[in-house]
Symmetry: C2
Subunit: 119 residues, 2 copies
Amino acid sequence: MKWNPYAARCPTRQLLDCISDKWVVLVLGLLESGPKRFSVLKREIDGISQKMLSQTLRTLEQNGLLTRRAFPTVPVTVEYELTSLGRSLNLALAPMIDWAVANMNRVQKARESYGKRLA
Amino acid sequence: MKWNPYAARCPTRQLLDCISDKWVVLVLGLLESGPKRFSVLKREIDGISQKMLSQTLRTLEQNGLLTRRAFPTVPVTVEYELTSLGRSLNLALAPMIDWAVANMNRVQKARESYGKRLA
DNA sequence: ATATATTGGTACCTAATAGTAACCTATCAG
DNA sequence: CTGATAGGTTACTATTAGGTACCAATATAT
């Protein structure tokens, strides 16, 4: 089978939709440096709600991008860790973060000049 | 200023949200090979609605990633072309498409084994 | 005993967004 | 005067995101 995300019903289209998500990019970026607990991720990703974080983590787990391990401590401790598939995805996603940081100034200038053109 | 997309109010967070979008990824991917008309983009991106396409294109234009040129033919013809900023972003996004195509099989297997674990 | 804090979730509700379909403008061909 | 065409916009609906509250289970403090 040859995959083609430009075709609406190709599974790669849906997969692309899954991975092109800010929370996915940020979560994978953090897990790059090793396993992390739920509460650590929540603290380090400023502005993410518990709901969105657990939802994002479950989807990533379902797709084989990370593993979830719960330890029977009290209260329960849960650790998330990238799989090798997840690490390979992160190689593709990390450049997005870098690009945003490197080009924020240029984008801001473009927005200003677009605003002026309207006036 | 040092940018940090892990901070909720940093402009790079909002920018990351803008660019991590399936339509953005697909549109930029197509424009890589040269300027294209609205109707061509619509035809080549199976399943995109006119609304989402024009919305996506306008946002990309506002952010300086592409230019829009309208020719006074009848009916009007509109051409979209990547800017150099857009081309630099596409370098960061294209690997996502490649990753999705290259790893679809692995993801499907992971989904199956996740399903089995529930049963 | 009772109150309080903790971790990692889920349930519920509302706000925002994506998608769908119809309509619009201008002009030319038949 | 009917229809077609390119590139939209508008109005409406369905889906999703996000916020808040709540939960279990136990440890510590009161």
